[in-house]
């Protein structure tokens, strides 16, 4: 997946796990969100400066905004590639993150409920986010950018596996 090699605990472990990656279209969704946000911000800056006559160079502000946007755009593609999930027999694994890498391990039996959500942009690309909730607020098992059919399948599987047992409270 990346060049980290076998020494990286987040790539080589756990062994024998069939990692699934999220849809690359998620990157497009995130980019659209980012650019729309940047455009709105830019328009806001221009409007405020022209209306109030603030002593601020519009050119500089827009340059900074576009530079940051470009920088973020570059990381979004890599961040989407870093997302992955795996369904094992008794637990779900989710990994993500570039700066702070995270690997979550959540037993199906600890599941309280499952959320499937999709925003307007996500829907336009036929994607959805599946999130598994446990009794712990810190549990983080969110899988974004799933093709709708995959999302449905994952949700059904999770509820089916979690239905017979709830424990830990």
């Amino acid at each position: 997946m990346s060049s980290d090699g076998a020494t990286d605990p987040f790539e080589a472990w756990p062994e024998g796990v069939a990692w699934r990656s999220v849809s690359p279209r998620l990157a497009v969704v995130l980019l659209i969100r980012l650019w729309v946000g940047a455009l709105v911000l830019g328009a806001l800056v221009v409007a405020v400066v022209t209306l109030t006559g603030l002593a601020l160079s519009v050119g500089w502000a827009l340059t900074v905004i576009s530079l940051l946007t470009l920088l973020r755009s570059a990381t979004i593609v890599r961040a989407v590639r870093a997302w992955g999930y795996a369904e094992r027999d008794r637990d779900l694994l989710v990994r993500h993150g570039l700066w702070v890498k995270q690997l979550s391990i959540v037993p199906y039996a600890r599941m309280q409920f499952v959320d499937v959500s999709a925003g307007p942009v996500e829907r336009a690309f036929g994607l959805a986010t599946v999130e598994l909730h446990t009794a712990a607020a810190a549990s983080d098992a969110e899988v974004p950018g799933l093709v709708a059919a995959d999302a449905r399948r994952l949700r059904d599987r999770l509820t089916e596996l979690g239905a017979d047992r709830t424990a830990g409270l």
């Binding site: 993150g97 702070v100 995270q102 979550s104 039996a109 009794a135 830990g168």
Partner: protein
């Protein structure tokens, strides 16, 4: 559950007839505070008294009407509390969701022989449906009923007589709270105020008032703890652990042992010379609002021997001194320069334990059956040093083994996952 205790339909019951009076007193206090001394000066004593009397009557009337409209009932496996005259509301609380039931007596309620019943519900963010007030015996009986139905039948047959486990000398509670940073630094601003009033004259009233207010804020926590943990007594029976404590406000709580998510042994800096520590419990659904800071104390203050004796009542088989603590690698100092020597982790058959804290040292213990998920995280700087952190999430917070060697962290995460899955049954 239903086989052993046939659900008896209890009749709908009212709160204690003195409740409106007690609520009325509260309203009165608020009203008087609202009118304040300024009002007193403007109205003159006679009119002020008349106004207060009128408010009193109104307050009592409102309280009496709401008393008539309030009722509670235990039906099958639910407690139903209905209230409100205009906006009627009936809340049904499933008994298996009950976390703790607490009997509380404010000083005034003690005088009148009544008590307040507070219910903590799993998943609820605050105390639900306080029943204020019930007769003291009624409150105790209702608590027994609620807890009796809330828990599965006790494995060891009929109720066992309560076994006293701990009686903390109130002097120790006082000394313990005097040995806090807040209490010890108090003389400084106090001296400042005295000096200010002596030399600066009367011009700095506002400065004076604000200093006093700040002072009260600082001193409040230790004072509160002393009041709350006064004559702390712990006993155990088939229901679980019973805590009775309080100087002004008497409280009796049951701590359901099976719902303890995290147990913490805490050594505040200034207690270390005396060899004292405190044991706190984190219970799912019971938020630690600052008023409730002392809510789940197993031992407010005590020595190591007592702590070692008490801890197994909550976490069977756990010995504070027997934990095979593995320190964090020396290179963790780059990321935690002060805490590194205190960071440690232990995995036993019973619990996952971590140690942390620079000034206030803590041991955090999680039984595997309460763990909800395992997380392995690594930041960029951790990666440069070959470190990673392992987190065990519970319904009442997360316990983290920070800055472990990356390979060890991976091993830990695998081990914890295994233990967590095995503890499910």
């Amino acid at each position: 559950m239903t086989a052993t205790t046939p659900p008896v339909e209890a009749p709908r019951r009212r709160l204690h007839p003195l409740s409106p009076l007690l609520h009325g007193v509260k309203t009165l206090a608020v009203a008087v505070a609202a009118i304040s001394w300024q009002g007193y000066a403007q109205l003159g004593p006679l009119r002020w008294a008349a106004l207060v009397a009128a408010l009193c009557v109104i307050g009592l009337a409102v309280a009496a009407v709401s008393w008539r409209a309030t009722g509670y009932q235990v039906t099958g496996r639910e407690l139903r509390v209905s209230e409100g005259l205009v906006w009627r509301r009936t809340r049904a609380i499933p008994l298996e969701r009950l976390q703790t039931v607490e009997v509380r007596q404010s000083p005034l309620a003690r005088l009148l022989g009544v008590a307040e019943l507070r219910l903590e519900v799993a998943g609820g963010s605050k105390t639900e449906a306080p029943l204020a007030y019930l007769g003291r015996e009624d409150a105790a009986a209702l608590r027994e009923t609620l807890l009796g139905r809330a828990r599965p039948p006790a494995p060891h047959g009929p109720a066992v007589a309560a076994v006293p486990l701990l009686a903390v000398p109130s002097r120790d509670v006082l000394v313990g709270q005097l040995l806090t940073v807040q209490a010890l630094t108090l003389p400084l601003p106090l001296a400042f105020i005295v000096a200010q009033t002596m030399y600066a004259g009367s011009g700095s009233l506002i400065a004076f008032a604000s200093t006093v207010t700040a002072l009260v804020g600082v001193a409040l926590q230790p004072v509160r703890r002393v009041l709350a943990d006064w004559s702390f007594r712990l006993s155990s029976d088939a229901d679980g652990l019973h805590v009775a404590r309080g100087l002004l406000e008497l409280r009796r709580q049951v701590v359901p042992v099976r719902r303890v998510q995290i147990a913490r042994a805490v050594w505040p800096l200034l207690w270390r010379r005396r060899g004292w520590l405190r044991i706190q419990l984190e219970i799912a659904g019971v938020r630690q609002a600052d008023e409730e800071e002392t809510a789940n104390t197993l031992m407010p203050v005590g020595d190591l021997a007592t702590a070692r004796r008490l801890l197994p009542t909550v976490l069977p088989g756990v010995d504070l001194l027997g934990l095979p603590m593995r320190p964090a690698p020396p290179r963790a100092r780059w990321l935690a320069p002060l805490a590194q020597p205190t960071l440690a982790v232990a995995v036993t058959d019973e619990v996952f334990a971590t140690a942390d804290g620079v000034f206030t040292r803590r041991y955090n213990l999680v039984p595997y059956a309460r763990a909800q998920s395992v997380r392995l995280t690594r930041s960029r700087t951790q990666r440069l040093l070959g470190l990673a952190s392992v987190h065990l999430d519970t319904g009442a917070g997360t316990v983290t083994a920070a800055h472990r060697d990356a390979d060890e962290a991976r091993w830990l995460a695998g081990l914890l996952t295994d233990r967590m899955l095995r503890a499910l049954r």
